[in-house]
């Protein structure tokens, strides 16, 4: 019943049914977009700082950039996954006005339920393993909030991208995430109008990526804007695409590639390149 109601609501309010198609075909940088937001930490421990960056694609630089967090309450655990959080200005905090940004969140409450107590009803103690070891990542004692990058242009246009971040009440158990993952974007530096040029990306860890999103400022991507890993070479994963440049195009043509991380091992990295197109 709930599924039926949800589907009715979804029908009446919005539609995500076409999301893969839109992701595949909506690759043109024809409007301001924030297509990726990344952090160097999966979880921010007590006293730690996080590095936040975002990829903004537009024909002109934005007039202003804001890094926002929504749902974070000092001294209180929150779990916010609903983007409507940004609808209430009182729940939104601005933490930076430029990218990349560094943020050190205040501590959240240490009054957290005990991990083992919380799951006593669900899991029976496993007597065959060493239960004296400290519990793993204490997810129950972390706040999960939304981080967003909002860019505003002089003509009033805005674009937003977001990611989740966990803020733990204890020392961060996670080492900083490696932002400089080995992603190579191989793009010819020059091309002629009307050419079909090969684009190739090599990613260092095929298990950690679930999709490659391509963006171009003009032209047509013959493999659409959404590609998967197409072949493996040693420890590298490769994906490629073909860009058909318009016959009447000249000047710089931007190509961007975002290797999206997954929700559980979020590693979002990107590369951008420019092809100088001659008539």
């Amino acid at each position: 019943m709930r599924a039926l109601l949800t589907s009715l609501v979804a029908l009446s309010a919005c539609s995500q049914w076409d999301a893969p198609v839109v992701r595949a075909l909506d690759y043109r940088i024809d409007r301001p977009r924030v297509v990726a937001v990344q952090t160097d930490l999966e979880q921010i421990g007590r006293g730690q700082s996080v590095l936040i960056d975002g990829l903004i694609l537009s024909d002109t630089p934005p007039q202003s950039v804001q890094v926002l967090v929504c749902g974070f309450v000092e001294g209180q655990r929150t779990r916010v996954g609903d983007a409507r959080c940004f609808q209430n200005d009182e729940l939104v905090q601005q933490i930076a006005t430029a990218l990349p940004a560094i943020w050190t969140p205040p501590e959240i409450s240490g009054d957290c339920p005990d991990f083992n107590d919380a799951f006593t009803d669900t899991f029976q103690p496993n007597t065959e393993v060493d239960n004296t070891a400290p519990p793993p990542l204490v997810r129950l004692c972390a706040a999960d909030v939304l981080l967003a990058v909002r860019a505003t242009w002089a003509d009033g246009r805005t674009a937003m991208g977001s990611t989740h971040i966990e803020i733990a009440s204890e020392d961060g158990p996670t080492p900083p995430r490696e932002l400089r993952l080995p992603l190579q974007l191989r793009v010819p530096p020059t091309a002629s109008a009307g050419d079909e040029v090969a684009l190739e990306a090599v990613f260092g860890d095929p298990t950690r990526s679930r999709g490659y999103q391509w963006y171009v400022s003009d032209g047509e991507l013959l493999k659409t804007g959404l590609t998967r890993i197409q072949r493996l070479e040693d420890e590298y994963a490769l994906t490629d695409n073909i860009l058909r440049i318009p016959d009447d195009y000249s000047g710089p043509l931007t190509v961007a590639l975002v290797a999206n991380g997954s929700y559980f091992s979020g590693q979002t990295v990107w590369r951008t390149a420019v092809i100088e197109v001659t008539p």
Binding site: D26, V35, C85, M160
Partner: protein
């Protein structure tokens, strides 16, 4: 009664007619003229060429004519024209019965306000005459949507919105009794069977002082207290959506009227769904469907007692949207598996998405002396509205994911005393008690409602006004004292009202109105726990000036400029906050909770309504309406367009009588798209997904709305009954007019997934 039958000579020279009279080769045209429906014989006069021949007293006639084909025109000041083509054969008698339609019972389109003139903004729509408006599916009450300034709201609820006001601000009445809804959901037919409906009284604003507890408009469906005809008469109507009957009977001082309707569209949907599913899917799958169900009934007995009339009435209606869930035979045992949803105990039926019903009983005594008319009534009723829809399908009369139940007790007395030829005084009082119980079902996982609210709501009104008629000037100052009690608070508000009319000439009159109105917010909006008990009484000031003119060729032109200011309005609001989510506790961590609530705000509206109409005195009838208006609500930082703000709205309604009792009618509507709140798109990197939140309230509009509806009907006249077959097609060219916004997955593009498609229907109506 004066009746003329014109027989125009088509082929023969009228001058030859006399010489042919009595000729052995002539044919004979004989028959009679009767009133349609009642079958009463009518005395008449036949005019042939330059000659006028009077019918017999019993309506019979006999003419000897030269062989040929003749166009026959039947005219009467009290009856609609009747055109026919007759063929006269040599030495043969052609017998025919002409059944004439009284204007008050015509199947053409008519809008008139020639009734009592004590109101300046009232429009009275004749029930039978409006039934053929296309797109209304033969429902005269629904036809009021075709008037300037009127629209139906988005979504499934059966309401109308007037001058940009929310539907709750328009009072729905049946014979003066307030009812929760006047239209069935989705299909949109009214809850009163047309056969027992006398007319529809519609005030877009400027209600006189006897109407209270309303802040914008009034729709009052008036049914027969005293059927116009002796004997038994009625109507049976059957079409693809529903079937209904209505009858009136009058014998001596006693009268009886009854009507009812029940839908079967749900059965058709179910059968067709199963057929489609069986044709294209796994046989182990039993398809589910969602379908509307509706029914209504009306019953009244009346006794004339000298100068008094005693009536006992019962009315009721039910509207439901039910789900038949789909089933799988996953275990392969040959039987469809039970749905686990049905096995969970809940305070509601999970397969009933919407359920609205009301039942009212009334005892009424009317005094009918010319110098002193009075009405005394006692009403007892019960109503209930429930909804499993969330904020996107919210009903104006029911809580989001919840239920509201009310008992209604009304005691009313009103008097009209004619003091002199120039002065009439009216006064009265109404006491209304409504114990209201509300339940919230937002937490659908427990056996009991998550919140229960109770409120004993009272509304009392005393009113008096004077009507001064000095010839050219007609003035009516009045005042209403309205008391409201809800949420444990009492509010008393005086409501002065002034109506004026000036006859500038025989063809032009000017009107003006200014007045104050107040209204108790709906029960679920103030109920503790699920509503906002702090809401004040809704209030409005209205003013209007108008010009009504009658042209010689049967065309009337009406124009009204209106403005209203609402210092207190109850509107829906959405609050995003951090709180413990009852459904997803997250171990007491806070999360975003969306609370759809109600808030008090201010509103304003201004506009121009104009209508030019051609009355049914020829082959063509219809009207053209235009509305220019703006409706605003006050937000946190600025004023924004109201949910039903439609700056431009135009409508053309036309009907054409055709030979052999065919009639073709059409309606074209065009209006500004409804305002909506755009979504701000946020791309989530780690989910590769777009999320969104609401942007500036009502800062965007849906695309221009336009649609064409057509209706064709054919009538066969029997000896004791008339049969009418009709085809009504709504949205002929299948225009995708979204009635609510929906977006593609990245919230960059408005889609048109939610719209009313082309809806054809056909039916048969029998009047006897």
């Amino acid at each position: 009664m004066y009746l003329t039958v014109l027989i125009a000579l088509a082929f023969a020279d009228p001058g030859d007619l006399g010489s042919n009279a009595g000729h052995a080769l002539n044919g004979e045209l004989t028959g009679s003229v009767r009133a349609r429906g009642s079958g009463d014989r009518l005395p008449c006069t036949l005019t042939v060429g330059d000659e006028t021949v009077t019918c017999q007293e019993d309506g019979s006639f006999s003419l000897r004519l030269a062989p040929g084909t003749y166009s026959v025109t039947v005219q009467s000041e009290d009856f609609a024209d009747l055109l026919a083509t007759e063929t006269v054969v040599t030495a043969t008698t052609t017998e025919i019965v002409y059944r004439l339609q009284p204007y008050s019972n015509d199947t053409t389109i008519i809008v008139y306000d020639d009734g009592p003139r004590e109101y300046v903004s009232r429009t009275v729509l004749s029930a039978d005459e409006l039934a053929s408006v296309p797109g209304s599916f033969g429902d005269p009450i629904r036809a009021i949507q075709n008037l300037p300034g009127v629209a139906r709201p988005a979504g499934p609820q059966g309401d109308i919105v007037v001058r940009g006001a929310e539907a709750i601000n328009t009072g729905a009445y049946i014979d003066g009794m307030p009812v929760p809804f006047l239209f069935h959901m989705f299909v949109g037919r009214s809850v009163v069977n047309p056969a027992v409906l006398e007319d529809v009284e519609f005030f877009p604003g400027g209600m006189p002082s006897d109407f209270g507890d309303v802040t914008q408009a009034v729709v009052n469906a008036r049914t027969y207290y005293e059927p116009p005809k002796q004997g038994l008469h009625g109507r049976v109507n059957v079409d693809l959506l529903d079937g209904g009957f209505g009858m009136t009977a009058r014998q001596g001082p006693w009268s009886l009227s009854a009507g009812g309707r029940v839908s079967w569209v749900s059965g058709l949907i179910g059968i067709s769904s199963q057929i489609i599913a069986k044709a294209g899917s796994d046989p182990s799958y039993k398809v589910g469907w969602v379908s509307p169900y509706y029914s209504d009934f009306q019953l009244r007995g009346t006794r004339q007692m000298g100068d008094y009339q005693l009536a006992v009435s019962f009315i009721g209606a039910r509207d439901a949207l039910k789900v038949v869930p789909d089933r799988w035979d996953r275990d392969g045992d040959g039987f469809h598996d039970p749905n686990p949803v049905d096995e969970v105990e809940r305070p509601f039926d999970p397969n009933t998405l919407l359920d609205s019903q009301f039942y009212l009983g009334e005892v009424r005594l009317d005094g009918k002396r010319t110098e002193h008319k009075s009405t005394t009534r006692l009403v007892l009723g019960w109503d209930r509205q429930s909804s499993l829809f969330s904020e996107f399908g919210q009903l104006s009369q029911a809580p989001e994911l919840g239920k509201v139940e009310q008992i209604t007790v009304i005691a009313e007395r009103s008097d009209i005393v004619r003091i002199s030829d120039t002065l009439t005084v009216r006064g009265g009082g109404r006491f209304q008690m409504r114990p209201t119980r509300t339940e919230s079902w937002r937490d659908g996982t427990t056996e009991t409602p998550s919140v229960v609210g109770q409120d004993n709501r009272l509304t009392a009104g005393l009113w008096a006004d004077a009507q001064l008629d000095t010839g050219r000037w007609w003035l009516s100052p009045g005042v209403r004292l309205n008391g409201h009690r809800f949420s444990g608070r009492n509010t008393v508000l005086p409501e002065p009202r002034l109506t004026a009319r000036y006859d500038a000439s025989n063809a032009i009159e000017l009107t003006a109105f200014v007045g104050r109105f107040s209204q108790t917010p709906p029960g679920h909006r103030t109920a503790p726990g699920i509503g906002n008990p702090d809401l004040p009484v809704m209030q409005a000031w209205q003013t209007s000036v108008g010009l009504n003119s009658k042209l010689n060729n049967g065309i009337t032109i009406d124009a009204t400029v209106f403005a209203s200011y609402m210092p207190h309005l109850t509107v829906t609001s959405q609050q995003i906050s951090l709180a413990t989510d009852p459904l997803n506790d997250f171990d007491n961590a806070l999360t975003t909770v969306v609370t759809n609530g109600y808030a008090d705000t201010r509103g304003a509206a201004v506009g121009l309504e104009a209508m030019a109409r051609l009355r049914p005195q020829g082959m063509w009838h219809g009207w053209v309406g235009l509305t220019l208006s703006k409706s605003f609500r006050e937000g946190a930082d600025s004023w924004y367009p109201g949910d039903y703000d439609m700056p431009i709205s135009a409508i053309v309604v036309a009907a054409r009588k055709l030979p052999k009792n065919w009639q073709l009618s059409g309606r074209f509507r065009m209006s500004s798209g409804q305002p909506y709140t755009p979504s701000v798109s946020i791309y989530s990197s780690d989910e590769m997904y777009w999320n969104a939140y609401g942007g500036p309230i009502n800062s965007e509009r849906l695309p221009l709305l336009h649609s064409l509806d057509l209706r064709i009907e054919k009538e066969w006249l029997g000896e004791r009954a008339s049969w009418t077959w009709y085809v009504d097609v709504m949205n002929v060219y299948n225009r995708k007019n979204p009635f609510m916004p929906s977006f593609n997955s990245n919230y960059q593009r408005l889609t048109r997934e939610v719209y009313v498609p082309i809806i054809p229907t056909t039916g048969l109506q029998v009047d006897f």
